[in-house]
């Protein structure tokens, strides 16, 4: 832009006024949540890199936990990061085992989890978390199973088919709840109605045949 065209310096900011400030506020919230999620996701990816090293040692686990902390710092309500941290506290991965911290992070994750994530958390609690690990809970942790049920129930109430089906199974076997065939059937029907989870249909069929 040479001095021949001085008017070009004056840029009329008409384009900025697409919409009002309140709308802009909604847009920038979305954008900053996205930015925070992207940063957190990057930290989570780094965490996984450390966790999945072939000859993983304590140093790797410490780095793993550090990355998780960074992820949560970037986005305090990032459900996956919170769940991984809860697991780290349960298994002493890169940090000293702590039941309180584990539970605290699980609660925080629960609050911001979608039904799908709640269902995953239910499975984590049911299967992966070893509640007798290293004497942290020498008598085992029966509440662990109840926590698992709670997660499945939350997801089930929001219409998640797999959670509904799994909840039904837990009523069949009395895991974390008292055995209750009626409730089991109720949840199997719900899952089958949903139509998105084929195993539920089979389950319902085999139950109908039994009774």
């Amino acid at each position: 832009m040479s001095s021949e065209y001085p008017d070009a310096e004056i840029v009329v900011k008409t384009s900025r006024a697409l919409t009002g400030p309140a709308t802009k506020a909604l847009t920038s919230r979305g954008l900053s949540d996205l930015d925070a999620t992207e940063r957190a996701d990057k930290w989570l990816a780094s965490a996984w890199e450390h966790y999945l090293r072939p000859n993983r040692d304590d140093h790797d686990l410490k780095a793993y936990f550090d990355c998780l902390q960074h992820a949560v710092a970037a986005k305090p309500d990032h459900p996956e990061a919170l769940i991984r941290i809860a697991g780290a506290y349960a298994r002493g991965e890169g940090v000293v085992k702590s039941r309180d911290e584990c539970l605290r992070h699980l609660r925080a994750a629960e609050v911001v989890s979608s039904p799908a994530l709640l269902c995953s958390m239910g499975f984590l609690l049911k299967i992966e978390f070893d509640w007798n690990c290293g004497g942290l809970w020498p008598e085992g942790w029966p509440e662990g199973m109840k926590e698992s049920v709670r997660m499945f129930r939350k997801a089930a109430e929001q219409g998640h088919a797999q959670a509904q089906h799994t909840l039904g199974i837990m009523y069949v076997w009395g895991e974390g709840v008292s055995r209750d065939d009626k409730l089991a059937l109720f949840w199997f029907s719900k899952a089958a109605e949903n139509g998105e989870y084929p195993p539920a249909q089979d389950e319902l069929e085999s139950w109908r045949r039994k009774s």
């Binding site: 065209y5 009329v12 009002g20 506020a25 909604l26 847009t27 979305g30 609050v111």
Partner: protein, 257 residues
């Protein structure tokens, strides 16, 4: 013998012809850039509408539950701080609600037909204010250009056709008062058009930095990967909304006791 009279163009006349060619090329370029600018504004406006309908309303819901929670707390605690917080939360909720349900949220997807674009380009060439020859002409052209832009933004081909038809019936005012004056006028027009093209480039670059443009860029990248970014954002906010709603519901049971 036939005497052939060969008219020799003066240097000035040659210059006028050359500059008229330059102006003609610039007018085509200007119409192109105006089309690009108008299209960008319309696309961003449409994306903003989509964002507000799918994500904005969820933020508004979040703010609503926050407000109810703050109001419950104010009821329970009764302190002036609690009441102030409740009032602020309520104001925020109202603001978010109006933004998410206002005019901006109603803008529909923008999909200009090739015909619409062609009509716009032609109209922009014919009525652009920066090709005006005097102030009165410029004022008239500015009015027409606004109409053309408005018609383009809502996809109204007929409106643009009408404007073009009207132009046929009222020829542009051309004051011929000698080659010298014509040359001065053409040079001024060239300067105006070049100036406007530069301004448009700056505006386009400016617009591409705004929040909604950045959001759209991220959404487009996600679509290329087969992901729906707005849906992902919605899911994440819904989880927070559901959780907050449950908190409010159980807190309100406490208050009722």
């Amino acid at each position: 013998m036939v005497k052939e009279i060969i008219k020799q163009l003066t240097a000035e006349e040659e210059e006028l012809v050359a500059k008229r060619e330059v102006l003609a090329r610039l007018e085509v370029e200007l119409a192109d850039r105006e089309l690009a600018f108008a299209s960008l504004k319309a696309e961003l406006s449409a994306f903003e509408g989509l964002y507000l309908r799918r994500v904005g309303i969820l933020y508004a819901e979040l703010d609503e539950w926050n407000a109810r929670l703050a109001e419950l707390r104010a009821e329970q605690e009764g302190t002036s701080e609690a009441r102030t917080e409740a009032a602020q939360a309520r104001a925020q909720a109202q603001e978010s609600y109006s933004a998410a349900h206002g005019e901006a949220a109603e803008v529909q997807p923008f999909a200009p037909s090739p015909e619409l674009k062609r009509l716009y380009r032609e109209a922009a060439k014919r009525v652009h204010p920066d090709t005006a020859t005097d102030e009165k002409d410029r004022a008239r052209r500015e009015r027409l250009m606004k109409e053309v832009n408005a018609a383009y933004a809502v996809g109204d081909e007929d409106a643009i056709r009408r404007i073009l038809a009207d132009l046929h019936n009222s020829p542009d005012a051309v004051q011929g008062s000698g080659v010298g004056a014509d040359l001065v006028r053409v040079l001024r027009q060239i300067r105006q058009v070049r100036n406007r093209i530069a301004v448009i480039e700056m505006e386009i670059s400016d617009l591409s930095q705004c929040d909604i443009a950045r959001l759209k860029a991220k959404s487009d990248v996600a679509s290329a990967e087969g992901r729906d970014l707005l849906a992902e954002m919605a899911t994440s906010i819904e989880a927070r909304v559901n959780s907050l709603r449950r908190t409010v519901e159980s807190a309100s049971k406490e208050v009722r006791k």
